[in-house]
């Protein structure tokens, strides 16, 4: 059995990425040093190799970037939409041209499999710019009045799980609507945003329209608190999201938040088992489970529990964990030591609280941060692994008997980002989709994204939507 799946190494070349030893901040069209002079290192989570140094942005740097964005806003917002559109189309095309380089870079810095960065992240990044480029000169038709205005300067803070895709989700609609931005990439994955700065240079984007200030959480907090930004956009943890909501209370700053999730992936007894298994695997192991909308709670109808779990375990045994740059790798590295510790702690709690833990036999590399794909059965709703976001390759299995019970269990969470439904019966699927309190429902599929399709959560999964026509509202003064 194991031999059938013994693959020879198929490494993607690193030569396509030319990394400098050190990177500054990108402010007003120039790379500059941080006022504080502080440097951080970013490592490859697969090997712990230091990839580059980058600047730790201070409050002073943030202020400089906001001033550059404010200055640029006057001319940028006054440009005809058709001109702004052409800049965004240029950016979309440059991303397509450089997509292999960016995919390899993303895999190096983030640890996700090249298969995903190459076939999922980068195509979506380019598509996002392409989609929003076309809105720039059609905003009067978007349903927000005849001549909606931009907000001004947007402060944007993005996470480490999809560094470049989250940048695209933030920057593309902001620029299309006529705003300028200061973006703070995640502490562990700053590099693709800095390469994006070079794409802005190649596109001839006016100085100050896009500013990239790297650093840790304190840099992000300084940006969010800056008095001269008009908009805060954040993707990340619900805890930080709440802190941001408190920071902007009493101000006029508009806020969008894309936060955590604890999605139920619900499998009925009439679901096509093989397809459902693929969907479950994709739902929880895609990007090592570092996905806010991951299908981390499998709700399986009791009558097919054994059959489904057998099939799922068989499939999990074929997952290849290892070198993210290998084209055959399914599961890459955990993004950081800190995140690995969080996943480990929660998985241990799952065992301690009495759930049954299972992982396929898999050899993990000696260096780097790794966690084997893990399944918990016998999970109850009171278990921490059923309630808290693990943000790792850990699936909790719960059972249900009736559709009503499935709905009650699925909705029994403060989150409400996504959900999955697997059934062959159309009317049941639509009934379920209607009852689930979540922003994105994937029926007989999972983890599908598209720039035309709005994404975002109910309840504590955040405010607002990104993507599609709906995603424009976040960046217009409406």
């Amino acid at each position: 059995m194991a031999n059938i799946f013994a693959y020879a190494p198929a490494p993607e070349s690193r030569a396509v990425v030319n990394l400098a030893p050190s990177y500054g901040l990108f402010i007003d069209g120039e790379f500059t040093e941080s006022a504080g002079g502080g440097l951080r290192k970013t490592v490859s989570p697969a090997t712990e190799e230091v990839l580059a140094e980058y600047a730790q942005g201070t409050a002073e740097d943030v202020d400089r970037a906001v001033r550059a964005a404010r200055k640029a806003f006057e001319k940028w917002s006054a440009l005809p939409g058709a001109e702004r559109a052409k800049y965004l189309f240029r950016i979309a095309r440059l991303i397509q041209e450089r997509s292999r380089e960016l995919a390899v870079l993303e895999t190096l810095d983030n640890g996700k499999p090249i298969r995903e960065s190459r076939d999922s992240d980068l195509p979506l990044v380019a598509a996002h710019f392409f989609y929003y480029a076309g809105w720039a000169d059609k905003l009067g038709h978007a349903g927000f009045g005849p001549d909606p205005k931009p907000l001004g300067v947007a402060g944007q803070v993005i996470p480490w799980n999809f560094p470049l895709l989250m940048l695209a989700w933030k920057i593309a609609p902001a620029l299309a609507c006529g705003n300028t931005v200061v973006l703070k990439p995640a502490e562990t994955t700053p590099l693709s945003a800095l390469f994006f700065a070079d794409i802005c240079r190649q596109a001839g984007l006016p100085k100050g329209v896009v500013n990239i200030v790297t650093g840790d959480g304190s840099t992000g907090a300084a940006l969010v608190a800056h008095p001269d930004i008009n908009k805060v956009a954040f993707t990340g943890s619900t805890g930080v999201g709440k802190a941001i909501a408190r920071t902007v209370a009493g101000t006029q700053k508009k806020v969008t938040l894309e936060l955590g999730g604890k999605a139920a992936n619900i499998v009925f007894d009439d679901a096509p088992v093989d397809q459902a298994v693929e969907g479950i695997v994709n739902g929880i192991f895609f990007n090592q489970g570092h996905v806010c909308c991951a299908g981390s709670r499998l709700l399986v109808q009791e009558s097919i529990q054994d059959e489904l779990l057998d099939a799922l375990k068989r499939r999990m045994a074929t997952l290849r964990v290892g070198d993210p740059l290998d084209k055959n790798t399914d599961i890459g590295a955990i993004n950081s030591a800190e995140q690995l510790a969080r996943i480990t702690e929660l998985a241990d709690a799952g065992e301690a609280e009495g759930a049954e833990r299972w992982s396929p036999a898999c050899e993990l590399p000696g260096s780097g941060y790794w966690f084997a794909p893990t399944l918990f059965t016998g999970v109850t709703q009171a278990h921490r692994i059923a309630r808290e976001e693990v943000f790792g390759p850990v699936l909790s299995v719960l059972t249900f008997r009736t559709p009503e019970e499935a709905v009650a269990k699925a909705n029994n969470t403060p989150y409400g980002l996504s959900a999955g439904i697997w059934t062959e019966k159309g009317s049941r699927m639509l009934w379920m989709a209607n009852k689930l309190r979540a922003g994105v429902i994937w029926s007989n599929t999972f983890n599908k994204f598209d720039p035309a399709s709005p994404f975002g959560g109910y309840k504590e999964s955040g405010h607002g939507r990104e993507g599609g026509r709906h995603g424009l509202e976040a960046y217009l003064n409406v």
Binding site: V440, S443, A452, K459
Partner: protein, 286 residues
């Protein structure tokens, strides 16, 4: 004819479809603009606010699950009932806001017309706020608006009736349920509106009206973990900041206060403010 002694009304709260007094047993004096006593309104407590949230949550499933046509009919029915009580509301608004009869009548007429306008939105809002999304793959992809849930509304302080209607109707027409803190100084038109709602086939708990101190009732509502959204129309800047901060604990949707001309065309802002967009994907294939 006026030798006859009039029958005064005991004003009560409206919660879960019933008309309770405040559990605290408290009342407060409500006067007209000249300081003449009008009534003792219930001084609702934090417990009354929590009970109202329970009632609103209980009503949410049925109300959000009702057909849009049905909700529109019920709201329209409310306007019919209002029309029949027009004189009563004109008198109450005139007293509450110190207006001439003609000016009060203009406020009430605008409020009834606004209620009709919002009633008509029930089965149309999904057509302006939803979309079919052309994704790059063989999927059927549809976005549709859904109600956010239980909305706590601090009604405008100055516009006791038109302002109230302008914030309440957009919340409930889309399927949300509401806990409303009435204008602190002028709660009587709102408490009388409860009598209209109760006779308009509106299920109990969809609208709950509490009279009392805005700050006292706003605090537990803003901090309540089972409230999904907060309309701060009736809060001053200081209170608004405090309540928005408390609302962050469970990431309520917050509509900040701003200067509004309640007589102007409201547009769709408040209608869309308390909606969530749900997007459903399904593969296409044979």
């Amino acid at each position: 004819m006026s030798d006859r002694l009039s029958v005064l009304k005991t004003y009560k709260l409206y919660a879960g479809g019933k008309f309770p007094r405040s559990e605290s047993g408290r009342v407060y004096e409500v006067s007209d603009s000249k300081g003449n006593w009008l009534a003792n309104a219930p001084l609702a407590s934090r417990k009354d606010a929590r009970d109202a949230v329970v009632a609103a949550r209980k009503a949410f499933g049925g109300w959000s699950g009702a057909t849009a046509y049905n909700r529109g009919q019920i709201l329209y029915r409310t306007a019919e009932m209002l029309e029949g009580r027009r004189d009563q509301f004109v008198a109450e608004v005139a007293d509450a806001e110190g207006l001439s009869k003609a000016k009060a009548a203009a406020q009430v007429d605008a409020a009834i017309d606004r209620w009709v306008w919002y009633a008509g939105w029930s089965d149309k809002v999904a057509q302006i706020a939803g979309s079919s999304n052309p994704v790059a793959g063989p999927y059927f992809n549809l976005s549709a608006p859904e109600p956010t849930g239980v909305v706590a509304v601090l009604a405008p302080q100055e516009s006791s009736f038109l302002g109230l209607v302008s914030v309440l109707a957009p919340v409930i027409v889309t399927g949300n349920t509401a806990v409303v803190v009435t204008s602190e100084r002028a709660p009587l038109p709102a408490l009388s509106l409860a009598e209209v709602l109760a006779t308009s086939d509106l299920p109990g708990g969809v609208v709950n009206l509490l009279s009392g101190r805005t700050a006292e009732l706003g605090a537990p509502l803003a901090a309540h973990q089972d409230v999904n959204a907060l309309d701060l129309a009736g809060a001053d800047a200081e209170l608004a900041k405090e309540l928005e901060t408390a609302a962050a604990d469970n990431l309520k949707r917050v509509l900040r206060p701003r200067a509004v001309d309640w007589t102007a065309d409201p547009g769709t802002d408040r209608l869309l403010a308390f909606l969530e967009t749900k997007t459903v994907w399904h593969p296409m294939g044979v």
